[in-house]
Structures are given as C-alpha cells and as structure tokens.
Symmetry: C2
Subunit: 209 residues, 2 copies
C-alpha cells in the first residue's frame, strides 16, 4: 500500500498517461486531463474533456491578478484549494445555501443555484466560474454573458446528469465569448470542477510542483 | 429547461430506470442505485454497484438510533444532508484537516485520511463510515475491524482512482463482518458516497418522499 500522497498522485498520473498521450496535449493540458481522470477514476473522460484554446492562460492570468472563484454548490467550494488561491489574493464564493437565495428561487420559481449565479451578477466579470453540479447554473451564466454582457475570465462548466447537463455544456462549447473547460455528455460533477481548478492552481504554485 | 428540483430528480430517475430494471433490485436498492447513477451522470455504474444483503437495513437502523457518520474527506461531509440526519440525532464528523491529524500522519508516515480513521477508533462502533476518496482510509477501517474488533454499523466505501482504490473495495467486498455499499473498480468519489448516504436518509424522511 502506497501511503505518501505525492507518490500516489505521481503513480496515478503514470497510469493515466497512456490514455491521453495520443491527444496532442500541451503540458499544462496534460495536468488538467490527468487530474480530472484521477478524480473520476475513469479513463473514459479522456476523449470528452474540452478545453478552449485560451482557457488555461486566461484562468492563470485571472488567478495571478487575484480573481475570485464563484461556485454553484458547496462541495465545489469545499474541494478547491483555498490556501493556494489565497496566496494570489483570491477567495471562493458560493451562495446556494443562503436564505436570501432560497427566497429568490422560491419567488421566481428557479433553482437555487440559478438564483445564486444571477445574484453574483457583475461580480462574475473577470472571475472564474466553477460549476460542478447544476445545469441551470451554467445556463444562467451563459444568459448573463449573452444578455447582460457579464464576462467571466473563464467558465469551468461540468454539471452532471441526465436532465439538462449535456445541453448546458453543448451551449458552453458552442459560444466563443468566454474561454471554457468542460466535458461533453452526462458525466461531470463537483470533483471534476475541483480537479480542473486545483490543476490550474498547482500550475502556478511552484511550492507544489 | 426544467427548474424545479424534484421534477429534475424524478425525470432523471425515469431516464435511469431502464438501465437498472433487470437487476432484480428491491425498491430501496432502486433508490440508492438511481441516486448514485444520477450523481455520476454515468449509467455504467449500474453493474458495478454492490450492496450487501443487510446494508440498507443496518444503515437505516443506525440512523434511526442517532448514529453518527464519519467521513474521510471534507467534500463528503459537505454533501451529506446534515439537516435530515440531525432530525434523527446524528452528526457528521471529518478530521482530515485537523492539525493533530496532520502531525500524526507526518510522524507515522501514513495518509491524513488514514490517520483520521485510526484516530476515530472506537467512535466508529455502531456508526456509519462514508469513504469517498481515500483507499488508505478504507484499508485502515478494514484493519480496525479485523485487528481491533471495531464494528461500524455499515461502511459506505467508494474510494476512487488508480492506486489502491479497486483493491481496497475488493477487500471490503471480500469480508463479511460489516455490511457495505461499494462499487467495483476504479470509479467512485465523494458524490457517490454522498449519494448513497443521502438516499438512505431520504428513505427514512417521509417529508422528502
């Protein structure tokens, strides 16, 4: 049994590499793919991960200038390495459990995660949005971009499930205003969003690499 | 776009049902399978989910008598419906980020999640253990069972990844002292552990069903 975390991670990435080596990935893309596949324990993620051309550089630049991260659910907030983010000045915000958001969602007959994204509003300009659960939250962010010209630095959008998730991610893929990291189809989830965010943080944090 | 949470969930479970209907599941097993597959967005979980004969009844009985839940990582603690658990008197504990646990792990050259399980020790008797991430935590719980006769009511053990996860779950499947819920192979993760725990909570909470 291997009990040293970095050794477990390195061994895991060695096992994953054969599944991604033919995808012509950049070094920093390899890190993101590896961490996502590691988090899911599922090499079938390799062909469905989609990273837009400028997404990693945009995410790095945002973190370096102290941008905040806005998440749809508490599990994503919990998993993000907040200590590393804080070194650069950023914080993680999630409003889905706030009483105010519950009231708005009930009144407007929308999901709480959708109400939370709408409520973040202009705070999303220049920020990183990380959606790991709710298709409705991703649809709402795409609406804010299109209708209210709110422009996040990058959207990490990996909502999961059989009702709306694939469509919301197809809509993210189809737009070209916002750099993105996503996965096609029904798979996704909080650990996938966390894996992508933390991979980028570790690309910037020399003490970790 | 469907924006009512219960409607999203019901529609999702309708989509999932054809993939599990030939598995001869009990009604309460259907709920657990559905919620796991829903959380992963992945119908390929259907054949790899394994629930021991007495696991669901043991988990229900434990919750009804106010048993606590012990998790390996904070993301599992975050996702569990603590408000519903509290109705029955239980709480969720996770020690992986405690300074004391970090010191023990560094001193004994073991993972933090392993040190945390060892530190819970006799508190695990009669409790629910929910492991969503770390194979080492599951191996440690199985050691506590075997060598120290510590007997959780049920172990929900779904660690994820390519280094130790499949082996740790095979060891859980191979023992017959503790009822269990697990998935075979490399897949798993925090949302899978959370899905199983919350499915059982919702079986007991009439206000939710």
């Amino acid at each position: 049994m291997i009990t040293q975390p970095m050794e477990i991670e390195n061994r895991s990435f060695e096992i994953i590499y054969p599944y991604i080596k033919n995808l012509n990935l950049r070094d920093d893309e390899v890190k993101i793919y590896s961490r996502i596949i590691h988090a899911a324990g599922d090499v079938d993620y390799a062909p469905i991960i989609k990273i837009s051309a400028t997404a990693i550089d945009a995410a790095k630049a945002a973190i370096l200038r102290g941008a905040n991260i806005f998440t749809d659910v508490e599990m994503v907030r919990t998993g993000i390495n907040k200590r590393t983010l804080k070194k650069f000045g950023g914080e993680v915000f999630c409003k889905v459990a706030d009483d105010e958001i519950k009231e708005i969602a009930a009144r407007e007959k929308i999901t709480r995660s959708m109400a939370a994204m709408r409520n973040f509003g202009e705070n999303l300009n220049g920020a990183i949005v990380a959606i790991g659960n709710a298709p409705t939250a991703l649809f709402e962010v795409l609406r804010l971009v299109k209708e209210e010209n709110i422009l996040p630095a990058v959207v990490i959008g990996v909502p999961v499930g059989f009702v709306g998730a694939a469509d919301s991610k197809a809509a993210l893929l189809a737009q070209d205003k916002i750099p993105f990291i996503t996965v096609e189809g029904t798979k996704g989830g909080s650990p996938i969003a966390v894996a992508a965010v933390n991979a980028i943080l570790y690309l910037l944090d020399n003490s970790r690499n």
